[in-house]
């Protein structure tokens, strides 16, 4: 007698990936013993001691538990349940998490290996996690010849107002990051985009084996001095002669000065409504960019540097944290998203709630950029159905599906999935 466990969040290669948001799953008896009696089974955590963990529930909830008793019909009819990654217990590798089906006598009747795949603070990655990310990134760039080129070409001067200076800044960049992450996952499905927590010391991020540092003497230039064989050693973008160049303007043993790169707490204090919170585009976002000398400090060249994506992962995480903390996940709630400030002419195109996002919409009609959109349709995930080929602002707001529906397929290590009714917390 064995138990088969099936998860909705299963990739084409059969591997399963969970975040904090619950997904539907089922268990069934594959070859029941004679007698046609239903079999009580307990679903519990398998996997390794330090690996990812999951929680179960009979309904979609934010209060899953370690184990779930279910009774499986002898007919082989599946029994549905919900499963999610246990908050703050992400995986570090595939199959370090698993669902075990335990029979009434304690016998293991089935196991479903999986990964609790979560975006993490870059300085807390294991060496294997870091290397998998770097190698996937290096392959995506392929010395300037790979798909990364289209990401770099998306974030340029002529597309500036699709993504900056207006309310669509947070959702546009969320889509951009997710597009990149899915492209990395097409190379290595165990990779997620780490974030640079720029209000905390992060010297490990700038260690030689990660994003590196330039020579100590500025007269030698700002090109990053990677170890030989490093996956980013051959990184190129605009030309065949432009490696990664960057020099911090602050002591990397510390965080950048907090009067400019304001802390997470201060960012939350910007306000509990979107119009107030949106000023984070200036502080800390803008100042995080300008904490360095090099292309990353200029809007039209910043995406040449891989650091851009870790910086923006943190900008997005701050938005996610703010959304969770203040319950701002309902796109129709003006405190979650609103068109305020000077409008983009004409008609706020690209920033209204149901506007599709460039470049994935392929639009070249003004005021959209008049060059060929560098990215095609938004990459499809075999794990989740959202956001579809042409994402909108709305699609990017409730990224976990708190208000219902599937998630976008990513989560941050310190932003939980929590159900709530609309409205502010006390």
């Amino acid at each position: 007698m064995t138990v088969e466990i099936v998860l909705d969040a299963t990739a084409e290669d059969g591997r399963a990936f969970l975040g904090w948001a619950p997904v539907k799953a089922s268990a069934r008896l594959k070859n029941p013993s004679p007698g046609n009696a239903p079999v009580p089974v307990t679903l519990s955590n398998g996997g390794t001691a330090t690996g990812g963990r999951v929680v179960f529930d009979t309904k979609r909830s934010d209060a899953g538990r370690d184990q779930l008793p279910i009774v499986l019909p002898a007919s082989g009819q599946p029994v549905e349940f919900w499963v999610a990654g246990q908050f703050q217990r992400p995986s570090i590798a595939y199959a370090d998490a698993a669902i075990d089906a335990i029979g009434p006598d304690g016998a293991a009747l089935g196991r479903r290996e999986l990964m609790v795949r979560i975006r993490k603070n870059a300085v807390k990655l294991t060496a294997d996690e870091r290397d998998r990310f770097l190698i996937a990134l290096g392959k995506l760039n392929d010395q300037g010849n790979g798909p990364f080129r289209s990401f770099r070409d998306t974030h340029v001067e002529d597309s500036y107002y699709e993504a900056h200076g207006y309310p669509g800044f947070p959702p546009w960049h969320r889509a951009y990051l997710l597009d990149l992450e899915r492209s990395l996952q097409a190379i290595d499905a165990t990779v997620t985009l780490p974030y640079w927590r720029f209000d905390e010391p992060a010297s490990a991020l700038f260690a030689p084996e990660f994003l590196g540092m330039p020579p100590a003497n500025p007269s030698e230039g700002d090109v990053i001095d990677f170890p030989y064989g490093h996956p980013l050693e051959t990184w190129r973008t605009d030309t065949t002669s432009d490696p990664i160049a960057r020099r911090p303007r602050y002591n990397i043993a510390n965080a950048p000065p907090s009067n400019n790169v304001i802390t997470q707490k201060a960012t939350l204090e910007l306000g509990d409504n979107f119009p107030a919170f949106r000023s984070y585009e200036g502080r800390p976002h803008g100042y995080a960019h300008t904490s360095f000398q090099g292309p990353v400090n200029n809007p039209s060249t910043a995406a040449k540097d891989p650091l851009f994506f870790l910086l923006h992962a943190n900008v997005d995480r701050l938005w996610a944290f703010w959304q969770w903390y203040y319950h701002r996940t309902d796109p129709d709630d003006p405190k979650s998203y609103a068109l305020t400030g000077p409008p983009r002419q004409p008609n706020n195109i690209g920033h209204k709630l149901d506007d599709t996002l460039w470049p994935w919409n392929g639009d070249t009609v003004a005021p959209r950029p008049n060059f060929k959109p560098p990215r095609g349709a938004f990459p499809v995930s075999s794990l989740v159905t959202r956001p579809g080929a042409t994402p909108t602002i709305r699609d990017m707001i409730d990224y976990q599906g708190v208000k219902g529906g599937p998630s976008l397929g990513f989560d941050y290590d310190d932003v939980p999935f929590e159900l709530h009714s609309t409205g502010p917390v006390s």
Binding site: V223, P227, P231, Y287, H289
Partner: protein, 258 residues
């Protein structure tokens, strides 16, 4: 941790905030004062750190879109003024920004500096590094001259990088890449540049290096990494998985010195 417990923990931490006083002091400063910062950037009586802080404030403004447009022209003009400032750090900071903006004035100044015309604005390696960011061959001949004239390692390495944009440099780069008497930084830069210019010529030279039992492990690591990137397409997950393990092993060996 239970999600509700986590919320209580975060709420408790936020309750210990230093209040909103600090933030209120920032109110309005984001959109005001850019003109003042432009003046500070150009003021030789201020310390370098203050002037660079002013530059950073202006740069942060460029991330705010239309709001910054009213001072953008003055900002660029100020940067051009600062290019000839007496302070090395400030000159470099200004040229860095201007090059990122694809500023022809800065590009010409850097080329003149490298040719020995007028003031030497930056150390040659730093100047070549800036030109390489947006160069379309205009500085290749300067890089080639410097490569033949100078024994300075950072300068030679930077010149080899810049020649990655010069198709006529293939032969030179192949020779440098395989020259065991050359500095290892220059060999590496040459290898990467050749890979970008002519993958088949690179593969040929790389094969010789890998087959040479007496050649150095650092250049072998570089060419092996570049070859592996070339051999696996982004969509080829199966190949990538095997390559991941091999490359991670190679990186670890290099970092551990084994």
């Amino acid at each position: 941790m239970n999600v509700k417990d986590y919320r209580r923990k975060i709420e408790s931490e936020l309750a210990q905030l230093d209040g909103k006083a600090g933030l209120e002091s920032l109110a309005g400063t984001e959109h005001d004062g850019w003109q003042q910062a432009i003046n500070q950037l150009q003021n030789p009586d201020l310390t370098t750190d203050l002037r660079i802080a002013a530059l950073q404030r202006l740069q942060a403004g460029t991330f705010l879109g239309l709001q910054f447009e009213s001072v953008r022209a003055d900002y660029v003009a100020a940067l051009r003024n600062v290019v000839t400032a007496s302070d090395d750090k400030l000159r470099l900071a200004a040229l860095d920004v201007l090059v990122n903006l694809k500023d022809d004035f800065a590009r010409q100044k850097l080329q003149d500096s490298l040719r020995g015309i007028g003031q030497q604005l930056l150390a040659p390696a730093a100047a070549l590094g800036l030109l390489a960011r947006d160069d379309h061959g205009s500085a290749a001949h300067i890089a080639r001259d410097l490569l033949f004239q100078s024994k300075d390692v950072p300068l030679r390495a930077q010149a080899a990088r810049l020649l990655g944009g010069d198709p006529s440099a293939k032969g030179l780069l192949a020779a440098l890449m395989q020259d065991k008497d050359e500095f290892r930084e220059v060999r590496r830069a040459s290898a990467v540049s050749l890979r970008n210019l002519d993958p088949s010529a690179f593969a040929q030279a790389a094969g010789k290096i890998l087959a040479d039992g007496s050649d150095f492990k650092d250049i072998k690591a570089t060419v092996r990494g570049a070859l592996n990137l070339a051999q696996t397409s982004a969509a080829n997950t199966t190949a990538a998985v095997g390559w991941v393990g091999r490359t991670i092993g190679a990186i670890r060996n290099i970092l551990s010195g084994s």
